[in-house]
């Protein structure tokens, strides 16, 4: 780690001001991605803007039938929240399966979604549940947010403040963990929005999280695991690495999708 200056503003407004005035400043949420890269000297921000003491970014509430989750809310809070468990149990279950207890007590939903790691769990939920990402500048629909591996629609200095999730959706997440890192090697989130079905796949895509159109179409007519027989995602746009090649990932996508549909019944 190189030396850096530490800031802990009390409001989003002040945080935004620091980001726009300080050179090479970076937001710090749970630090579970940023700090390891700094320790390895892969990232070297001159200024760290810690959002921990910004109260408006923490917490979970229900508004107009929507679940609102602050960007600084930790995975364990989401997993254990009574509100999330009653309104969107699939999201609570996903959060409970991220990393280990240490990671869940520090890592945040805002950090995870902003980082858009291609193997992270949350992006699949945001996409399948059709959440809205709210920043200090605007509202961004999930379909427009994830633009590539580690890339999002966020602009320089833009801060995610909270997420708005529709509620009452039948859905489930099925994760096949990477045996080493336990991130998703393939993770499939299936969500039934009335007549519509959204299926988001993480861990597998060469460009990060994506929607599996063929699976969505099959499930729209018949929301059952059988509907996915013979259906799948082409291996062409999937990742090959030392843990799994594209063909195996393609196969797992269908298997995990079926398991998610079963769990969502």
């Amino acid at each position: 780690m190189y030396e850096f200056e530490y800031h802990h503003p009390g409001s989003v407004e002040n945080a935004a001001k620091l980001l726009s005035t300080l050179p090479e400043a970076k937001l710090l949420a749970g630090g579970h991605t940023l700090l390891p890269t700094m320790k390895q000297r892969l990232a070297a921000p001159k200024h760290i803007v810690d959002m921990r003491s910004i109260r408006e970014l923490h917490g979970i509430h229900v508004k107009d039938g929507h679940l609102v989750i602050g960007a600084m809310t930790t995975h364990s809070h989401v997993a254990e929240s009574a509100l999330v468990n009653s309104h969107l149990p699939s999201l609570a279950a996903l959060a409970a399966g991220i990393g280990d207890p240490h990671v869940r007590r520090r890592g945040t939903i805002g950090g995870s979604v902003a980082n858009n790691d291609p193997a992270a769990d949350y992006p699949s939920a945001v996409l399948a549940l059709n959440a809205t990402i709210v920043t200090n500048q605007r509202e961004i629909k999930a379909d427009a947010f994830f633009t590539g591996m580690f890339e999002t629609a966020l602009k320089e200095g833009e801060i995610i403040t909270h997420f708005v999730f529709p509620t009452g959706i039948k859905g489930a997440y099925a994760k096949f963990p990477n045996p080493a890192s336990r991130y998703a090697m393939v993770g499939v989130f299936v969500a039934r929005h009335g007549a519509d079905v959204r299926v988001a796949v993480t861990g597998a895509g060469a460009n990060g999280v994506f929607r599996a159109n063929a699976l969505e179409a099959a499930l729209k007519g018949d929301f059952s695991p059988k509907a996915l027989d013979g259906k799948g995602v082409s291996a062409d746009d999937l990742n090959t690495d030392m843990h799994a090649d594209a063909a195996y990932r393609a196969h797992l996508i269908t298997v995990m999708a079926k398991r998610a549909v079963t769990a969502a019944q």
């Binding site: 030396e3 045996p179 080493a180 890192s181 030392m242 195996y248």
Partner: protein
């Protein structure tokens, strides 16, 4: 049995300090004025060094000094050594290239040491390192042995990168056996490369005291005396009486901390150069890159059977990847610690093994928990399992029909098995594993669309490698005895100084149990001192499950002397003839009378010396002993693994694990069971999860826990552990050793179970979900066709 003596499950005395964070590890050692070292490592797997420019780095804030291989050479500091000389088939000695602590002109693996930057803080040293300009001439690199043998040499001495081509056994007799065989089973086997990953990474603090001209090195070592010997006699840091080596609490080693590495050598040498203590602590990436790795064999093996399903011959060819340099005991691991084990528990009249040791552009490979025996066990236990399947014989029955049953048993490959009852372990394991119920369990799994399989491993291993004269004749540079000193204090408390070293094994408890039981004193009154060359005179350290069989035997021998001397003192105290004194339960009694005196009082009398004259008896009560065993010890047992495979995902779940081991006499059943658990976990890790992968350019792809899969609790089953016991005839305590058995037994048990479930043999380690899924596709096709 006393409540704290041999056989009691005494809770570990050392654990309170470990689990409350009060241990004292090398990284906890901080010295006034200390500097920090950062090692600049090669980013290339193979390159010439055409220049190192560190003028700018030297001017960076906090930088104290920068050294390269030239500085070591100028100071006449020798290279690291390999302490076991192997002789090739043609009688020529192995071709060992130089192994400088800091590279001289060439780097040979990613992580090789190019320069050391010493600064006031670690961050300053690391930042300065970014300003050292090294000009590399990149050379082609090879990470695997097959391509290395066809490529330009890493070291000029080994033209085809072959360090040795060694053999063992009778080739003619083996060929003859194969010529008359009724059935031959053939297997190609890769034993995957592993990274040891002890919880505590390596560390060193070197200090030099100008007044007394003495060095002190704190280091994460399993054998501080061997480290001192090598650093003194071979590397030339300082004569032994001017060099103190301390290995304080050490957080696991698994073999990787036996060896003498570049970093501690440089830290202790540099402490005199810079006139300040020099400290280095490895980070996890450095540990992946530079700790000696384990295994990495490519083997072709064949087993010959006669018409009665008796094994009549075994031939094996193994190519062992030794890495870029020969680490301290690397040469012996795939030779003398491997081929003699190939006979397994079986009566095999003819065996012939050939081993090529090969240099590659990878981290050095050396002993890792089991060291050679897991590789050998994997070969023989896979072969017998496959042979049984091919012959249509139950694998348990096939093994039973070939077990050695008469002892001593001389194998054709050096070892003389001194005792055991292999079938007793097999029968007990079959019972515990409910082998009879396996068909029903397989059917139940099939009904759920799952594949169930069962696999055996009927392993033998060799511990407490000895006697010294024998290992010397095989090329070892050291003797493999152990020392002990028992110091009885005037109040009857006891300190035991041992040359063994505990880095997780629990010696502070088990060794104290021996003393407590033997002298009849409370276990709290015994402390175990180890890991400091200024306290313990000499020792050979801990590896190869030798501390019980060899280390405790030395203590036992010293206790014999203590008892003899104490009886003399008691004779004076009780005014009786020495021969009339009996010692039992901590009390000296005059035979046939009620006159007695306790151990503590005798200790006091030994020191006040009021009851005898110094002419008749020396005051004091302190005795030392060296113990050199008469033979290796041969723990053996049967492990049975039962798996269930999900053919949809390829996930293998271990449903049952049965372990029945014969470790001879057991000092502490709880600790032994813990050793078995940990060993099996490591073995399952090798079979299902772990594997170090280098790409074709010699970059280590699995250089962090993000990509190198360590076994976690939820990867592992609940173990069903049982014991059988035959006393070891080759040491006074009857101990065989238990530290490595689990990781020796486990890998073939897992793979035999998976291949049983799949109905075919082509699966390599680690059997990852992807690999198992691919293999299961063939199985499902076949089942569908049936």
């Amino acid at each position: 049995m006393s409540a704290t003596g041999i056989g009691a499950s005494v809770k570990r005395k050392e654990d309170f300090r470990f689990i409350t964070g009060r241990g004292n590890y090398t990284d906890d050692v901080n010295r006034y004025g200390q500097t920090h070292a950062y090692f600049l490592r090669s980013p290339h797997a193979h390159a010439t060094i055409d220049g190192i420019d560190y003028a700018e780095a030297l001017k960076m804030p906090g930088v104290v000094a920068i050294f390269t291989g030239k500085d070591l050479a100028d100071d006449k500091i020798g290279g690291l050594i390999c302490g076991w000389s192997i002789t090739s088939k043609d009688g020529s000695p192995m071709k060992a290239g130089a192994h400088p602590a800091l590279a001289q002109g060439k780097v040979r693996y990613v992580g090789d040491h190019v320069a050391v930057i010493i600064a006031d803080t670690y961050a300053q040293a690391r930042t300065a390192a970014e300003h050292v300009n090294v000009k590399y001439g990149v050379l082609p690199a090879n990470a695997d042995t097959a391509s290395a043998m066809k490529s330009a040499p890493l070291h000029d001495v080994a033209s085809d990168n072959r360090v040795y081509d060694w053999h063992l056994g009778d080739k003619g007799a083996t060929e003859a056996a194969f010529a008359k065989a009724k059935h031959i089973t053939k297997l190609d086997i890769v034993n995957n490369r592993l990274v040891p990953n002890p919880m505590e990474p390596r560390a060193a603090v070197g200090e030099y005291e100008q007044g007394t001209e003495t060095f002190c090195l704190h280091t994460t070592s399993q054998n501080p005396h061997v480290a001192r010997l090598v650093l003194s006699a071979f590397i030339g840091i300082a004569p032994e009486h001017k060099l103190r080596v301390i290995a304080p609490d050490v957080g696991g080693g698994f073999g990787s901390k036996i060896f003498i590495y570049a970093e501690e050598t440089v830290c202790v040498w540099a402490s005199k150069k810079v006139g300040r203590p020099v400290k280095w602590t490895s980070d996890r990436t450095e540990a992946f890159l530079s700790d000696a790795h384990g295994r990495d064999h490519v083997t072709h093996a064949e087993l010959a059977m006669d018409a009665n399903n008796k094994i009549i011959g075994l031939r094996v060819h193994t190519t062992a990847n030794l890495g870029a340099y020969l680490s301290t005991f690397s040469s012996a691991v795939p030779t003398y610690l491997y081929a003699p084990l190939l006979s397994g528990q079986y009566n095999i009249p003819a065996i012939y093994a050939e081993v090529d040791g090969v240099y590659t552009n990878t981290a050095p490979v050396d002993a890792y928990r089991g060291a050679g025996r897991p590789e050998a066990t994997f070969v023989i236990e896979r072969l017998v399992e496959v042979a049984a399947r091919e012959l249509g014989v139950d694998p348990a029955v096939f093994r039973q029909g070939n077990y050695v049953t008469q002892f001593p048993h001389q194998t054709p490959v050096i070892f003389c098995y001194d005792g055991g009852d292999y079938n007793a372990s097999m029968l007990k394991a079959l019972e515990m594993a409910d082998y009879k119920g396996i068909s029903a369990r397989k059917a139940a799994s099939a009904a759920k669309g799952k594949l169930r399989g069962i696999g055996f491993s009927s392993y033998i291993e060799a511990c407490g490698i000895a006697p010294s004269a024998a290992v010397g004749s095989l090329g070892a540079g050291v003797g493999l005895w152990e020392s002990a000193e028992v110091r009885v204090n005037p109040v009857g408390t006891v300190e035991v100084l041992t040359g063994s070293h505990s880095h997780g094994q629990g010696h502070e408890t088990t060794f104290a149990q021996l003393v407590s039981g033997r002298l009849g004193i409370p276990i709290e009154n015994v402390s175990i001192v180890h890991g400091d060359t200024d306290k313990v005179q000499m020792g050979m350290g801990t590896y190869g499950s030798r501390s019980g069989a060899v280390g405790m035997s030395a203590i036992s021998k010293a206790l014999d002397k203590i008892e003899a001397k104490a009886k003399k003192v008691a004779g004076y105290v009780l005014e009786a003839a020495e021969g009339d004194i009996e010692f039992k339960d901590g009390k000296f009694t005059v035979k046939g009378t009620d006159k007695s005196v306790d151990f503590g009082s005798v200790a006091l009398q030994a020191y006040v010396a009021h009851k005898f004259s110094g002419q008749d008896l020396e005051p004091g009560l302190k005795e030392g002993a060296f113990y050199d065993p008469t033979n290796f010890t041969f723990p053996a047992g049967v492990h049975i693994c039962e798996v269930e495979i999900d053919p949809d995902t390829g996930v293998t779940k271990i449903e049952r694990w049965t372990a029945v081991d014969d470790f001879g006499v057991i000092i502490n059943p709880m600790i032994v069971e813990g050793q078995v658990h940990g060993g099996i976990a490591q073995g399952i890790g090798q079979a299902l999860l772990e594997g170090a992968i280098y790409d074709k350019d010699g970059q280590l792809l699995t250089a962090s826990f993000m990509d190198y899969a360590m076994p976690r609790a939820d990867d592992l089953p609940s173990y069903n552990v049982g014991m059988t016991e035959t006393r070891c005839p080759s040491n006074p305590l009857g101990i065989k050793g238990c530290g490595e058995a689990g990781c020796i037994a486990a890998p073939p048990a897992v793979i035999n179970a998976i291949t049983d479930a799949l109905g075919h043999e082509n699966i390599a380690m680690p059997a990852t979900p992807q690999a198992v899924w691919r293999a299961a596709q063939q199985t499902m096709k076949k089942l569908a066709a049936e």
